[in-house]
């Protein structure tokens, strides 16, 4: 064990503090090849039969991971100098590379060249670090060549190929007697596997012949975009106040319009048009320059249509632009209550800017899902074709890629990553990564939405499973003997959940005390008893952060045995819980509260419907039914109290599918029914959450994990206020209480659904609630606007939300049961924790909605339905229509030109020839313009015969149409309300 094989070299690190570290060089590092007589047979990971061994340089690893991950790429030597560089430059690529090297099924061998006596080199004076590292790779490659010894003359040892796209490095390597080729050239040589060519990342890495050709081509092509400014320029510009920085958010309705929230300007800056966006895409951190005020614009007041942006249409590329734009016309999408840039009237100009530089790209490493644009000219089979890829998420631009399998991929959903975006190219260049399946297939599309929302669906690792107790699990005597755990098995506890719920987080009880007061208990699954900090399972749960619910599938945060059995507070079994128990008067005034770990035994696991019928059925007088009734009475008082305090009753267009158990296809769809029992449980959970929030904040003023809902900025309500004014009612958004009251008054005698519609639209004006550490902002900002609560947190669903797990730990720490978790102690730790919780929470919600959207499409596949609808937006060329029953919202266009143009690219919607509006009748003259009145929120046909007003009732026919782009879309067509069956009328 002594250092007999070690030699010492000193390296200096040029910091203010000079650090000298030892660097041991060894001669016991194997080459990993069976051809090396000195290599230990057990260490030989590379194949004896390989034709060649590949050595990849750092840039190849950084840019060509998809290529390396392909199963056809084998016998790769990864030098440790490459690993080190990759780790410093891109952590996620590093993780991918490491898992490749660790995989027993792949032949990737790591050679620690930096610690081998014969391959370690020192940096020469005047040599840059990069040059030194390139040289180190070459020296190690050369060393490998010397290691391979044919056992007999007949043997052919593998050739060692250095893969590098750096021409200078290649020529140096060749002059040193090495074989060095570009990745393109290598992929091309692998004719037996044409797919490899597709995986090669595009960009500035083409080999010489192609570069020459493309240079010639580039010379002809006009520069489309301005060059990006360098980082030094940007820094100086930001400092001087000339530029502003922020993250670009692209409008979901218009791919060439986006907003950059800038702190320095104080409001969102509009970026309008492809040129102004200057190759920035959704999520990029950009530097922008404000345009002169004279050039400021307003957000577009029309629905986007074909040819909406000013791209040149002369050459072939231009023609494809037309297609792209058509493809980008908005589809019918389910109601979306995500954050959106505030809507603005045409009259109000906004600060407008253009992107001058990219501060940080936010290109996804996991890639973008989508499909190829149909080819106009069929390319020869197997030859490389340049095709456009259309992402499913409309915020992203189309991506140009080279593929040899265009034909085979035509009807497939594929994943593509972006490699680069040059100033003379309309589109970013990317490369193919993998195929997900056939377009329209439910499983494929579900996979798409999971990838799009970055949901981790990979199975839990063995290390995670190892943390889960064996089944069957039961409460142990040790748990019962724990002095900190109270035995509450005697209490009449029950749970109330949606039907089919297996992950039961919460259970309730209420009993009357001898003094006449009530004892109310909320019992939450004691997940942290099983989830210890700094274990594999805890790390995994923290990174997943939440369970994701899709229509037909649940992607768990915790492994199934914990989720459905060990933690789940099922009926008639003993389970561990974390209980909050109040003593309150009959009029629901809290006398005292205590928190305790407990053992409970639920008497019944009820559905909302069952609980409701027990409450309603006055003949039932069993223990559970009685306590449900008491609880309901308490809940009513609490609800009333909250409403008086100004809590908002918000609405979201939740729909519910009835799923065929065999085919998993949706059989029926409808509005999710909310019963009083739902509200009762919700009220109890709110009480528990608020109580825990107050307690933990008192115990740890700087370390509590809370949830706040920011007060919306008044301008966020502007569009709604405008619409309300036009519709003849008024909303007061000054406080949540005033808003709640004015929402209550927004009723229409002739439209029972009107109130809910207004509530849905009001909800959309607000930002989302977020998790935060109490150390992060001032106490007044802790406020939860929607609940009108000064403090709030999430405590009641630890099986499916990691935030609740953290809150459980903090609460346990406040009771002295456990130390405060490490992550809760430092501010940076809390910040990164809450950032992840918020992102994952949002993603899971979006994925859930996308799943609803997908199932809506499947549901309407063979149906044509006429449904009740409401107008939610008026535009000069069409309307946005909301269909309450199915929770979908989408456009209808006035003029056939727009409709036809949109049909060419994708969605189609048309105004019927017949008069449709209940408010006005008459056919629309095709050629002339409709008149939009922003003030009155109306749009009138040129002849004045047809007039649409916001909030009007309407009726639409919903159908699925398949376009030549192989996209399936819901198409909404206005029909006369007379066609609407009685049964379909809302309210």
């Amino acid at each position: 064990m002594l250092h007999k094989k070690a030699f010492i070299k000193k390296t200096r690190k040029g910091k203010i503090q000079q650090i000298v570290r030892e660097h041991y060089l060894r001669d016991d590092i194997y080459s990993g090849t069976p051809w090396d007589p000195e290599c230990d047979a057990g260490a030989a990971k590379l194949s004896k039969d390989a034709k060649h061994y590949l050595v990849a340089d750092t840039n190849v690893v950084l840019s060509q991971m998809d290529f390396l991950e392909h199963a056809a790429v084998e016998d790769v030597i990864i030098m440790s100098v490459v690993l080190d560089e990759v780790r410093h430059r891109n952590q996620s690529v590093y993780q991918r590379l490491r898992s490749l090297c660790a995989s027993p099924t792949r032949r990737f061998y790591v050679f620690a060249n930096e610690h081998h006596r014969d391959t370690y080199i020192k940096q020469e004076p005047g040599e840059s670090v990069n040059d030194r590292n390139d040289r180190a790779i070459r020296v190690a490659t050369k060393w490998y060549m010397s290691r391979l010894e044919p056992a007999s003359q007949a043997d052919q040892v593998p050739e060692i190929i250095l893969l590098t796209n750096d021409a200078e490095n290649r020529s140096r390597a060749q002059s040193e007697g090495l074989t060095a080729i570009s990745i393109q050239a290598y992929a091309k040589s692998r004719t037996e596997c044409p797919e490899l060519m597709d995986l090669v990342a595009a960009g500035n890495l083409e080999d010489e012949a192609e570069t020459a050709a493309s240079r010639a081509k580039h010379a002809k092509r006009a520069r489309i975009y301005e060059d990006h400014r360098g980082m030094a320029d940007i820094t100086a510009g930001l400092k001087a106040g000339k530029y502003h920085q922020g993250t670009l958010r692209v409008s979901r309705y218009n791919p060439f319009e986006g907003w950059v929230g800038s702190e320095s300007v104080g409001e969102d800056i509009l970026i309008s048009g492809r040129v102004a966006m200057n190759r920035a895409i959704e999520g990029d951190a950009v530097a922008i320059e404000l345009l002169p005020e004279a050039e400021w614009r307003a957000a577009s007041a029309t629905l986007p249509k074909a040819g909406a942006d000013g791209a040149p249409a002369e050459d072939a590329e231009g023609a494809e632009d037309m297609q792209e734009d058509g493809g980008h016309i908005m589809e019918v999408v389910p109601m979306d209550i995500s954050e959106q840039p505030p809507e603005l009237t045409a009259a109000s100009k906004r600060p407008t800017g253009k992107v001058v530089g990219i501060i940080r790209r936010n290109w996804r490493t996991r890639g973008y899902c989508g499909s190829l644009q149909p080819q106009q000219r069929a390319s020869a089979r197997g030859s490389t074709a340049s095709v456009l890829f259309c992402p499913v998420e409309r915020r992203f631009p189309m991506i140009r890629l080279q593929t040899r399998q265009a034909e085979a991929l035509a009807d497939k959903r594929i994943v593509v990553v972006i490699d680069s975006w040059e100033a003379d190219s309309h589109y970013p260049a990317g490369h193919y990564v993998r195929t997900l399946g056939t377009i329209g297939d439910r499983d494929t599309e579900t996979e798409v939405l999971l990838i799009e929302h970055d949901i981790n669906t990979s199975p839990f690792t063995p290390a995670v499973h190892a943390c889960v107790p064996q089944l069957p699990w039961s409460v142990t005597p040790a748990d019962l003997d724990d002095p900190n755990r109270q035995d509450l098995r005697h209490l009449p506890i029950c749970s109330v959940d949606p039907p089919g719920c297996k992950d039961i987080d919460d259970a309730l009880h209420v009993v009357e005390l001898p003094n006449g007061n009530l004892e109310l208990g909320v019992h939450i699954a004691d997940v942290t008893h099983f989830l210890k900090p700094a274990t594999a399972i805890d790390d995994e749960a923290a990174s997943r952060a939440t369970t994701t619910y899709l229509v037909q599938r649940r992607i768990d945060m915790l492994p199934k045995p914990l989720t459905e059995d060990i933690c789940s507070l099922r009926a008639d079994v003993e389970r561990l819980a974390f209980s909050v128990v109040w003593e309150m008067t009959q009029s629901a005034d809290v006398v005292s509260v205590r928190f305790t770990k407990s053992v409970i035994k639920s008497r019944a696991a009820l559905t909302y419907a069952e609980a409701q019928s027990r409450i309603d059925d006055e003949r039932l007088h069993d223990e559970i039914s009685n306590s449900l009734r008491t609880m309901n009475r308490v809940a009513r008082i609490l609800r009333k109290r909250r409403a008086d305090a100004g809590a908002l009753s918000l609405a979201s267009p939740e729909v519910k599918f009835e799923i065929d158990t065999e085919t998993h296809d949706p059989l029926d769809v409808g509005i999710y029914q909310i019963r009083e029992a739902n509200q009762m449980v919700e009220e109890m959970m709110l009480l528990a959450n608020v109580t825990v929030a107050e307690h933990t904040l008192r115990a740890f003023p700087a370390c509590a994990l809370l949830r706040r809902h920011p007060v919306p900025a008044p301008r966020q309500f502007d569009p709604l206020l405008r619409a309300a004014a036009a519709a003849g009612f008024s909303l007061d958004c000054s406080t949540s209480k005033m808003l709640a009251e004015s929402l209550d008054k927004a009723v229409r005698a002739d439209d029972a659904y009107f109130n809910k519609l207004v509530r849905i639209m009001a909800t959309r004006c607000m930002t989302q609630a977020v998790y935060f550490g109490s150390g992060e902002c001032d106490p007044p900002e802790y406020h939860h606007y929607g609940l009108a609560a000064p403090l709030y947190t999430h405590f009641t669903s630890p099986i499916r939300r990691y935030a609740d797990v953290v809150v459980h730990r903090v609460l346990a720490a406040s009771l002295g049961l456990a130390p405060l978790p490490e992550t809760a102690r430092d501010r940076d730790g809390v910040r990164s924790l809450t950032d992840n919780l918020n992102t994952r929470h949002h993603n899971a919600q979006m994925a859930g909605r996308a799943s609803v959207e997908l199932h809506t499409l499947i549901f309407f596949k063979d149906r044509v339905v006429v449904a009740d609808a409401r107008i939610t937006k008026v535009r000069s060329n069409g309307l946005i229509i909301f269909v309450p029953k199915y929770g979908i919202e989408g456009p209808v266009y006035f003029t056939p030109k727009d409709a036809a143009a949109s049909a060419k690219g994708g969605a189609r919607a048309a105004i019927p020839k017949q008069p449709v509006s209940a408010a006005a009748a008459g056919s629309a003259p095709p050629e002339s313009e409709y008149i939009l009145d922003e003030e009155k929120q109306t749009v009138t046909s040129p002849d004045g015969k047809v007039c649409y007003t916001i909030f009007d009732k309407a009726a639409v026919r919903i159908a699925v149409e398949e376009t030549h782009g192989q996209r399936r879309h819901l198409v909404l067509t206005l029909v006369d309300r007379n066609e609407l069956p009685e049964s379909e009328q809302m309210g």
């Binding site: 064990m1 070690a6 660790a102 790591v110």
Partner: protein
């Protein structure tokens, strides 16, 4: 941080159970009764022994004393880090003094005292181990017999791998660490120092590894003592003849 790569190499290129390079030089300080220079990786310490000599006047708490001095230049970082290390050195000194009282036979200390001075020239990881080893070698160089053959070694548990002889970079981590002074014949631990929280199984693992490390160090230290004695014997003859010539 990845303290042991999947290839099994530590950041400095060593394997988990590999000691740093050890250099020993004995008797380099002429003005002392015995001295030893020990370099363990980048840790460099110099130890000198005065005595056994007649007890000086004035109160002494013990007949043998071992004092470790940390110089400002020996420490990575600013003067504050020196003070911190200085406090640790005081603690080491006390522990070493106690251990040596047991190791030096009582009859030697009956009417004499021994002073061991250790100067830290450069502090990297495993400072205590280097100081203890240097002090032991200096005592041997001064001809002071010891009851047992000893050595000291430092270990740590990083990313659940037990590593022997931590470098500064490794010992900066908030990970379980243990250093011991081990008596080879009695197979017992004379001094143990642990840092950071650890489970008992972790401690067992570290002690086992540290023991292994001590045994390896003892072998190397004994080798150094033998070769220095051989060298002394071979150079003493010419010295004597030179003195004769002057007369």
């Amino acid at each position: 941080m990845e303290f042991v790569s999947p290839e099994g190499l530590r950041l400095d290129g060593r394997r988990p159970k590999e000691l740093r390079k050890l250099r020993i030089k004995l008797g380099s300080l002429d003005g002392t009764d015995g001295s030893a220079f020990v370099q363990l990786g980048n840790t460099k310490v110099l130890a000198a022994v005065f005595g056994p000599r007649g007890a000086p006047t004035g109160a002494r708490s013990s007949a043998i004393s071992c004092v470790i001095a940390v110089s400002a230049i020996s420490v990575q970082g600013d003067r504050r880090s020196k003070e911190r290390l200085g406090r640790q050195a005081t603690e080491f000194s006390r522990a070493l003094t106690n251990a040596m009282e047991q190791l030096v036979p009582a009859d030697i200390l009956k009417n004499a005292c021994i002073d061991v001075h250790v100067q830290v020239l450069q502090a990297d990881g495993g400072l205590f181990a280097a100081c203890a080893n240097a002090a032991l070698l200096a005592l041997a160089n001064a001809g002071v017999p010891l009851r047992d053959i000893c050595a000291a070694c430092h270990t740590g548990l990083l990313e659940s791998t037990a590593l022997v002889d931590l470098s500064a970079q490794e010992s900066m981590q908030q990970a379980p660490q243990a250093a011991i002074l081990y008596e080879c014949r009695t197979q017992s631990i004379a001094i143990m120092q642990t840092d950071n929280k650890m489970s008992t199984t972790a401690l067992e693992e570290l002690l086992e590894l540290a023991t292994e490390g001590c045994i390896a160090l003892v072998t190397a230290m004994r080798q150094a003592l033998i070769s220095s004695t051989v060298q002394q014997l071979s150079t003493s003859a010419p010295h004597a003849s030179a003195a004769q010539r002057r007369d």
